[in-house]
């Protein structure tokens, strides 16, 4: 009886979430499938496939997100591996230094990158965009991989070594496969925010390059709510698909928990 009653304590929050989490997503759906007059329509989606500029921005954003993810993986995996290897790194402070930038305002980090490029007299453009993206999201790749590697049972690698595998072989055949859950969650944590960023690209390229997030923002700002909602829905679908894909790539939730 008592426990029954105490579960009611979640009610205020359930109501709050119904209004501020669920209802807003329903609104996105409603706006996406309606025209300005409120009639049901698929026009917003048809418009997206017919507007060459938006479609191109969409594809270009996916391309940038993919490149960023690959670069982060190439730079981040060795770092995560070194951080988790007790022979090469013992300091918890170094680990913390890698994680802290995740929590610094993205805008401040982006403007700092712009400042760095100005300071080095390197012109802004696609190079700056990729640098800024990698700089912004690298910690999100390192952290989950580091977590998996850290939790990994080292005796597997030792056993492989004892059985005569070369260090390279141990790494490729034991360490890498065992770290795959972390790699998947890192890919997810880099790809998803990269594809949905806005404002970052314009600042890094002096408005030369536009990403899909900006297209959505501009439409919403210019009062094209229905079309903007449809674009947001398309982004949600892409993100949902990515999550499903990496879920089948292995349990993700565990790797992102722990130390914030």
């Amino acid at each position: 009886m008592k426990t029954f009653k105490r579960s009611y304590w979640s009610l205020p929050y359930v109501i709050f979430m119904a209004v501020f989490v669920v209802l807003p997503l329903v609104m996105v759906l409603l706006y996406a499938f309606r025209d300005g007059a409120g009639h049901f329509t698929f026009d917003n989606f048809v418009k997206f496939f017919q507007t060459k500029e938006d479609l191109n921005t969409f594809l270009y954003s996916i391309e940038i997100a993919l490149i960023t993810t690959v670069l982060c993986l190439l730079l981040g995996y060795p770092a995560a591996w070194i951080l988790s290897n007790p022979k090469l790194n013992r300091s918890a402070v170094t680990v913390m230094l890698f994680i802290l930038p995740m929590w610094i305002n993205m805008l401040i980090r982006t403007l700092a990158t712009v400042a760095l490029f100005d300071f080095s007299r390197i012109p802004l453009g696609e190079g700056a965009l990729l640098f800024g993206m990698v700089y912004n999201f690298l910690p999100f790749m390192i952290y989950p991989i580091y977590n998996t590697l850290n939790k990994m049972d080292r005796s597997y690698a030792e056993a492989a070594q004892d059985l005569g595998a070369s260090p390279v072989k141990v790494f490729l055949k034991v360490t890498v496969p065992l770290s795959m859950p972390g790699v998947w969650s890192g890919i997810l944590m880099v790809f998803m925010p990269t594809i949905s960023t806005f404002a970052v690209a314009e600042l890094l390229t002096m408005n030369k390059v536009k990403l899909f997030g900006t297209t959505i923002q501009e439409n919403i700002n210019n009062g094209m709510w229905n079309y903007g909602a449809a674009l947001a829905l398309i982004m949600l679908v892409i993100i949902g698909l990515t999550t499903l894909l990496s879920d089948s790539g292995k349990e993700v939730e565990d790797e992102t928990g722990g130390l914030i």
């Binding site: 890698f98 305002n105 999550t243």
Partner: protein, 264 residues
């Protein structure tokens, strides 16, 4: 030798990660209008910042950021702690459903959270401003409070609450004297986390701030950067914000590490 290369790689990456912030911090100690121009050491920008030599709009944006951050942290800590106690006592499907919805704001990209709330407010005909920004911040902060408080409830011995009731405490006494002290560390971590998330937010604020001229630090910086060239006083300001966030995060992490050690 191997260790040397490994360490060198780590520090090179760290240099890459921190160099932009370092540049801003270094050039906050010189007066030059254009960043990258060193015109000698000076604390003038800091003096302007703290003695009101900067535009009113900028000061007001800092004020808004702080008050929204504190209010959002207080509200989401209260809402989230109560919710956590409730969810802790939920079972089966209902619990799964509530936890799932609780995860949505954390998984959703900022832009989706922002747009969906924007559409909610315009759909309901609500004028957007301070209150809508605050509500939006509570929306994306509370899930993190719930997640900070839940583990403390799980560690708690459920019998001590019952024991307090058996010994004659009223339910509200048992709550204040037994449950709250037990989950307090989680509430404090959740509060700091919520505050950090709130002052860090840009995207959600941008969509929910309306057009009545409300700016937080992030949106002010964004508008300033779009106009071309940053106001020099933003350099010391960003440096201070960076330091504050670093210290807050170091505090949370040390707390987590300590409580993990205690568990062991």
């Amino acid at each position: 030798m191997k260790k040397f290369f490994a360490q060198a790689y780590l520090w090179l990456l760290l240099l890459l990660l921190y160099s932009p912030i370092l540049i801003i911090a270094i050039f906050s100690f010189t007066e030059a209008k254009v960043l990258g121009n060193w015109t000698g050491f000076s604390l003038d920008l800091y003096r302007n910042l703290f003695e009101g030599g900067v535009s009113n709009a900028m000061l007001r944006s800092v004020e808004n950021t702080l008050t929204i951050g504190i209010l959002a942290a207080i509200l989401s800590t209260i809402l989230g702690s109560i919710a956590a106690i409730g969810i802790h006592n939920l079972k089966g499907r209902t619990r799964q459903a509530v936890t799932f919805v609780n995860d949505i704001p954390m998984l959703n990209p900022d832009i989706i959270t922002g747009i969906s709330l924007f559409l909610l407010f315009v759909g309901l005909g609500v004028t957007q401003g301070y209150t809508t920004v605050l509500l939006a911040h509570v929306t994306f902060c509370t899930p993190y409070v719930v997640l900070s408080v839940m583990p403390k409830l799980q560690q708690m011995n459920p019998n001590i609450y019952e024991a307090a009731l058996d010994l004659g405490a009223t339910p509200s006494q048992a709550l204040w004297k037994v449950i709250v002290p037990q989950i307090k560390p989680g509430m404090i971590s959740g509060f700091i986390l919520a505050f950090t998330l709130s002052i860090d937010d840009f995207a959600v604020t941008l969509f929910t701030k309306g057009n009545q001229g409300l700016e937080t630090l992030s949106t002010f910086i964004y508008a300033d950067a779009r106009k071309g060239g940053l106001t020099p006083e933003l350099r010391p300001l960003m440096t201070v914000v960076f330091l504050v966030v670093l210290i807050l995060l170091a505090v949370i992490n040390i707390r987590t590490m300590k409580s993990n050690k205690n568990k062991k």
